[in-house]
């Protein structure tokens, strides 16, 4: 009642009042939406950068773009996708859903939450102002030293890049702090840590990784800024500095970073599979232990990005073993997902459709990852397109497909409307097929010797056909993103009303209205099991009878 009144009241306000509301909000739900909107805008920008890259690589000796412009494009494409799309969209979904899932009224630090969003956005804008200096940085998203020194990168583009990432890094770290405090300190009565929804558990471990992995990057970026502006010598190889130190520092951040990009997705997928298989999650405890194991091990494998720099055999061996080890808990998760589906009554509505895309594509990406973890294979294929194929399989196949699954799952809760299934299917199939056509050929061109980050290649190499197939695949993907945006905005007005619990799900966010009121729940609930709504709907057969 109060919700409907408030909505009518808000609808009659001038647009300036709504804008003020959104700009000054400290409500986790609005901040979550802001993060997601920001991420989608940057997704489109980085996508355009990718299309320009693919256009240049269509023909051998093509001259649509010169080498310097090309280098700027792959730098900005990578930086944008990782820092201003990938992390923000996951932090945004987490922001919206986590407090609801644990029966809280907001995050632990609402104002810090807002600061985190605006810092992330501001950092992104700062990085993009580098175009106004005459060109974006052309250093690669991983910014290997000494290319980042003033000697080799003269314009202030690199400074804007580093400073923008320091600022957005502070925003991201604060989000990690907020999630840890919220999840550890604000669960509703009865929700012990071993009873939290799985997305909450994975978000907790993601946040631990954020808090440990982001600061080393921030330190490294500060060192770049000190080198460039105060004459320091951290990575100044002409004066004793070490290019290798930067690589260690960056990848110490960089590897946990990719797990930051996938653990929340594991959580979302683990929420969706049971609901759409009508079956409780298989092996919650093992899944939880596997998550913690992945978080720990992933912090010790960074130098598998550096196999060809000339580390000792002992070091190489250690990183091979540790990298192979991390595949075990990941495999456990995979089997548990399949075991959950097995014997279930599966319905392939859009969230589940995207989950299927995730499962198939992330599997392949994981397998090529294991191949790359083997140092001798890596010696041949490092810095080739095989690696580009691998990480796009895990990042798009994994992170993006899983994120779309989550967005389709929770869109009804956020908006009160269902997304169009028809448009969702078109989006899925165009993305799935386009994605396969784009990235499978990269494994082939990589094995045939095509290096990364080259702006063109000779016809005699035989790489042209694979590049052309890839570019066509990219063009197939373009309409899928347009359809998604169309679906989101069309369904806002014309989607079927969703009600509180359109999927017949089991976690607390489905116990309140769609969208929830600003205070989330009329009264803070008490829970007794991992599936409080199942207990409510089946009082004769509640979960707490079976759970330890």
């Amino acid at each position: 009642m109060a919700v409907a009144e408030k909505r009518r009241e808000l609808a009659s306000l001038p647009w300036t009042a709504a804008l003020h509301e959104w700009v000054t909000t400290v409500d986790h739900k609005k901040i979550g939406v802001l993060y997601i909107l920001m991420a989608v805008v940057f997704l489109v920008i980085a996508g355009i950068e990718a299309l320009l890259i693919r256009w240049q690589l269509f023909y051998p000796r093509n001259n649509v773009l010169g080498p310097d412009t090309f280098n700027q494009l792959f730098t900005m494409h990578g930086t944008t996708m990782v820092f201003f799309m990938g992390m923000p969209i996951l932090i945004g979904i987490g922001n919206y859903v986590i407090p609801l899932m644990i029966g809280a009224r907001d995050m632990a630090f609402p104002r810090l939450n807002a600061m985190g969003f605006w810092a992330t956005l501001f950092g992104g804008l700062l990085v993009y102002t580098s175009f106004a200096t005459g060109g974006a940085p052309a250093i690669g998203w991983f910014a290997y030293a000494p290319l980042t020194e003033h000697t080799f990168s003269r314009s202030s583009a690199t400074d804007l890049w580093a400073l923008g990432l320091v600022i957005s890094g502070i925003g991201t770290t604060s989000a990690g702090v907020n999630f840890i405090a919220t999840i550890l300190g604000m669960r509703c009565p009865g929700m012990a840590l071993h009873k939290v929804p799985f997305f909450v558990w994975t978000m907790l471990w993601t946040s631990v990784q954020i808090v440990i992995a982001l600061p080393p990057l921030t330190a490294g970026l500060i060192m770049i800024l000190l080198d460039r502006n105060l004459g320091a010598h951290f990575f100044d190889t002409q004066n004793g500095g070490s290019a290798l130190l930067w690589q260690h520092m960056f990848w110490f951040f960089g590897h946990p970073e990719v797990y930051i990009l996938i653990l929340p997705v594991f959580g979302m997928v683990t929420e969706i599979i049971p609901v759409f298989s009508r079956k409780v999650l298989f092996g919650y405890e093992f899944m939880a232990a596997a998550t913690a194991a992945i978080a720990f091990i992933s912090m010790g494998v960074w130098a598998h990005h550096m196999f060809s720099v000339g580390m000792s055999r002992a070091a190489d061996l250690y990183f091979v073993i540790a990298s192979l080890l991390v595949s075990i808990p990941t495999g456990i998760k995979f089997f548990n997902w399949l075991a959950t589906m097995y014997g279930g009554r599966i319905s392939f509505t859009s969230p589940m459709l995207f989950v299927t895309g995730f499962l198939s594509m992330f599997l392949i990406g994981g397998l090529t990852g294991i191949m790359l973890a083997s140092a001798p294979w890596n010696f041949q294929l490092t810095d080739s397109y095989f690696v580009v194929g691998h990480f796009h399989f895990v990042l798009i196949g994994g992170t993006l497909f899983g994120t779309f699954a989550g967005l389709h799952y929770w869109y009804p809760k956020v908006t009160g409307r269902m997304l169009s299934e028809r448009l969702a299917r078109w989006q899925f199939w165009l993305l799935y097929i386009g994605f396969i056509v784009t990235f499978v050929p990269m494994h082939i061109s990589g094995v045939l010797g095509m290096p990364r980050r080259i702006y063109t290649y000779d016809a005699a190499r035989g790489w042209d056909i694979w590049n052309q197939i890839t570019t066509i695949g990219a063009l197939i993907q373009v309409p899928s993103f347009a359809i998604f945006v169309l679906n989101v905005f069309w369904s806002l007005r014309k989607g079927k009303p969703a009600g509180d619990d359109p999927w017949n799900a089991w976690t607390l966010e489905w116990a309140t209205t769609s969208p929830p009121p600003s205070y989330n729940f009329e009264e803070i609930p008490t829970v007794r099991s991992r599936r409080p709504l199942w207990d409510l709907k089946h009082p004769d057969d509640p979960d707490w009878k079976y759970e330890q």
Partner: protein, 217 residues
């Protein structure tokens, strides 16, 4: 922000709604199965991020230790001065802890004295560092751009000093809040968390002192 006193209701689900708690206190209060509240967890998570940050600076210092071809080397560092500043900082951890205890006992006056002493000792540390740096720059010509030692030394000690400065500002603000009776003496969260931060700054200094002034000299 008080510790929760909610009673745990046995869950007897009513017809169409979830069992509700009698938990009417703010959600920063402690749920029954956790020993720390959300604000305390937040400070711990923040300090963890700071550990990661300082570890990176320390590892960098160690990586470049002894690698310089040119003077000056760590031999130019003055141990007596730094022992003095270190004693100041370590004592300030003692005074901040005693101040916290005093406030919980209800002795606001003793708290104010000890807390102010903490600020003073911290400020003395900064003054000592400023003097040390002036010596290093003017007498030994050591700057951040001189050599690897200069680069890593000023970055590490400088970031520590920056964190200490922020700590002094926060200590001062909390002192004002307590004097204006805006902090509850029975559970002074602001005082507790500030003292945790201060102990952290002190611990970082112990590591920096050991690595820079004892090991590398």
């Amino acid at each position: 922000m008080s510790v929760a006193e909610g009673r745990f209701e046995g869950s007897v689900p009513s017809e169409n709604s979830l069992p509700v708690s009698s938990h009417s206190t703010a959600q920063t209060s402690t749920p029954l199965n956790s020993t720390l509240n959300s604000t305390e967890w937040g400070m711990i998570a923040f300090l963890l991020s700071e550990v990661a940050f300082f570890s990176t600076l320390i590892v960098t210092y160690l990586a470049y230790m002894g690698k310089d071809q040119a003077e000056p080397t760590p031999a130019v560092l003055s141990l007596p001065l730094v022992i003095g500043t270190t004693i100041c900082l370590l004592s300030s951890s003692g005074t901040v802890h005693l101040a916290d205890l005093a406030l919980r006992r209800g002795s606001r006056g003793t708290f104010a004295l000890l807390w102010s002493l903490t600020i003073l000792l911290g400020a003395l540390f900064l003054l000592g560092t400023a003097y040390e740096w002036r010596e290093l720059i003017e007498r030994h010509h050591l700057t951040i751009s001189t050599n690897l030692f200069g680069t890593t030394y000023y970055t590490l000690v400088g970031f520590h000093a920056l964190h200490l400065t922020v700590g002094l500002i926060v200590l001062s603000i909390v002192l004002i809040l307590v004097l204006r009776r805006e902090v509850k003496p029975s559970h002074p969260l602001a005082v507790e968390l500030t003292s945790w931060y201060w102990h952290f700054v002190d611990t970082v200094w112990v590591v920096v002192f050991t690595v820079v002034y004892l090991v590398s000299r």
